[in-house]
Amino acid sequence: MHILKRHWSKVIFNSLLIIWTLFPIYWLLSLAVRSQTELTGQLSLWPRSFSLEHFSALMAGGQFGQSIVNSLQVTLLSTSFALVLGLCSAYILARLQFRFALRGLLLVWSFLVRVLPPIAFAMPLYILMNRAGLLSTLAPLTLTHILMNLPFIIWFMIAFFQRFPIELTESARMDGASEGRTFWSVVLPVTAPGIAAVGILSFMTSWNEYLYAVIFVQSPSDFTIPLALATFNSEQELAKWGQLAAGGVISALPVILFVCFAQRFLIQGLSGGAVKE
């Protein structure tokens, strides 16, 4: 009886969780496939029409396609760079036996960068990039996305590296492995779940970033997806629900693919076993 009751509460919790998470997603999908005439009236729970007009309107002219390419470039480049820089430095910061005089500075500085409101940071960064002659390339955006994600990666990975059993690195060193090899083939595989998590979240932050994207963009051929979508909602015109939703669906696909891929690393690292109940 007791077990049955607990079982039911679990089922109810899980169902509520899934409805809560997925209903807005369902609604988004349904907006994307309803015809324009249906969208202006009262919306029923199930779509009364099915149409791909919003997708074709969105892709017409190829500009949205270009935005996807730009977004991919910036996101992949910045996420990779931020991960390399972040993982390497977090490892040193976490391991107090490494002598690194600037440890405190790096810790505080990265934290500060994360805390400052991007809304205030954007303007001076624009001036900086403008003087460096970098505007009208995707470099400013890539660099600022690194700036945005690096502190997050550093701080979160410190927590992972700190928990890493020191005996493992010691024994690797005993076997004559260099510090670099130890880091690469002993430490990283075990912390893979953490790396995958920050990787996914950095990727998605960069993918959906708007504020810096809008201040650096100089030409419509440099638009990223959030920029392309933003003009569908404006004060003086009616929101283009259909195209916004369709754009949201399309833009989520590459991220979902990335998540599915990165998820392989979310599973247990090498040293521990599976968590058991």
Binding site: T37, T40, G41, Q42, S80, F81, L83, V84, L85, L87, C88, M123, Y126, I127, N130, A132, G133, L134, L135, S136, T137, A139, S178, E179, G180, R181, F183, W184, S185, L188, P189, A192, I195, G199, V214, I215, V217, Q218, S219, P220, S221, L227, A230, T231, F232, S234, E235, Q236, E237, L238, A239, W241, F261, A262, R264, F265, L270
Partner: protein, 460 residues
């Protein structure tokens, strides 16, 4: 074996981790060098593209004409042989559609490429302002919302069109052209009206006729109809009471109809005048006989007849044959016997030649073209709102867009928001206090008194 497999997977996920961290210390520092090199390359490349090295830029341009950065570089470097590019920074949405719809002809005739950067309005203003500091502007033409004009004029963002030899064209509706002058209405021209937005009275024909009501010409009549609609189980009058720009734009026409204004002739703040109090109380009474919606809901509700009346903008026009929504000029008097004032807010989008454009003559030529009767007629088909009398009374267009007639009358009876460079700050403060009144968290008296204090502080 498993370990190798994982390492391989990780390698494909993070190619840079691979190069960065495989071989220990030495490789690690190599990565750094490599990373720096890549950054340096990026930098070099972009300096070249930005026009730092003209010859290199031209060769690149020949190789890949698709990247517009190179095209822009080429334009400064070798304007004589390559097609020039005019860059326009504009409000995204239908304005960009209009420019794209008419640009082909100009591009062919003048051997030029037109590039349009469409942004949301706040970001548009910020980017124009940031770029204004550069000696060489990134944009040749820029769009500006009507309340920005005093600020932009003070800062010298736009070139003086009159000095460039442009003669004011009397076909433009006077009220629209006046916005482009500095000082307002009397000075030289700095920008031309690109889109003739002006506020309308927006109502549902069928609902009004079922209530046996005429289109109201004073606000007391509006309230009567709203009450009747409410009694019939519908929403009477819909206010757009969101804090900030929406509530200010939605309320000001009523304030003006009551003979009030934000400032008097000597820039004293008069939001809490007798007219101010009466009109805000009236506004709340309208709300009591109606609802408070966001714009998309307003259009949907008035179009399908679940709501009777509201204020609206031309760009909300639903061309749907079935929609029974229609536009009229906003009532200009409190009740049938009171004085009539102009009450519709004008909200034109202007376009001007930037002061730091490197090809002002060509830019002006395009500006004249894009605001010409011919271009406006084409643009109207894709959602453009004309600013010329001849286009607004064109029989062919009127058959298709009967509201153009109303638009012309409404523009001629429109009111311009106070011409101060601090309007955006005032709107923020005023909008907050109006929202307090609408939400009922402050009394009308309190909200208006606080609004007055806040606006006075801004004007100091």
């Amino acid at each position: 074996m498993k370990r190798v497999f994982k390492a391989t997977l990780m390698a494909s996920l993070l190619p840079l981790v691979l190069t960065g961290c495989t071989g220990g210390t030495s490789v690690s520092s190599e990565t750094v060098a490599q990373a720096e090199q890549t950054t340096a390359e990026l930098a070099d490349q972009s300096t070249a593209e930005a026009g730092g090295a003209p010859t290199a830029a031209t060769t690149t341009a020949a190789a890949s004409t698709t990247t517009d950065a190179t095209t822009r570089a080429a334009q400064t470097a070798a304007a004589d042989q390559e097609a020039a590019t005019l860059t326009i920074i504009a409000r995204g949405g239908s304005h960009v559609d209009v420019i794209n719809a008419v640009k082909d002809k100009f591009e062919q005739e003048n051997n030029v490429t037109i590039e349009v950067l469409g942004l949301e309005s706040d970001e548009l203003k910020q980017k124009i302002s940031l770029d204004a500091a550069n000696a060489t502007g990134s944009y040749d033409l820029a769009m500006a919302d009507d309340p920005w004009m005093p600020e932009f004029a003070e800062a010298g963002i736009f070139r003086n069109l009159t000095e460039m030899g442009y003669e004011a064209d009397s076909d433009f509706v006077q009220q629209s052209l006046d916005i482009g002058r500095n000082p307002y209405g009397t000075g030289d021209l700095y920008a031309l009206p690109f889109a003739g937005n002006v506020q309308f009275f927006f109502y549902n024909k069928e609902l009004l006729s079922s209530l046996q009501a005429e289109v109201p010409t004073d606000w007391a009549a509006v309230l009567d109809i709203a009450k009747a609609a409410k009694a019939a189980g519908q929403v009477g009058y819909v206010i757009r009471g969101q804090q900030g720009n929406p509530v200010v734009s939605d309320y000001l026409p009523i304030l003006w109809s009551y003979g009030g204004d934000v400032f008097d002739a000597d820039w004293n703040v008069t939001v809490d005048s007798e007219a101010g109090q009466a009109s805000l109380n009236f506004y709340l009474e309208l709300l009591a006989n109606g609802a408070n919606y966001e714009k998309n809901d307003i259009v949907a509700a008035v179009s399908d007849g679940s709501a009777a009346m509201s204020l609206g903008w031309p760009s909300w026009y639903i061309s749907d044959q079935g929609a029974s929504a229609a536009y009229a000029v906003i009532p200009g008097k409190a009740d049938a016997d009171s004085t009539e004032y102009a009450s519709g807010m004008i909200g034109n989008w202007m376009m001007g030649v930037t002061a730091n454009s490197q090809q002002p003559e060509l830019a002006l030529k395009f500006l004249e073209y894009v605001t010409s009767a011919e271009a406006q007629k084409t643009g109207a088909e894709v959602g453009g709102v004309p600013t010329r009398t001849s286009v607004l009374s064109d029989p062919e267009l009127l058959a298709k867009y009967p509201y153009f007639q109303t638009l012309l009358t409404a523009t001629q009876n429109s009111v311009v928001r106070p011409r101060t460079s601090k309007w955006s700050e005032i709107e923020t403060a005023y909008g907050t206090e109006l929202s307090n009144a609408v939400a009922g968290t402050k009394t009308v008296d309190q909200a208006l008194a606080d609004a007055k204090t806040a606006i006075e502080k801004i004007m100091q």
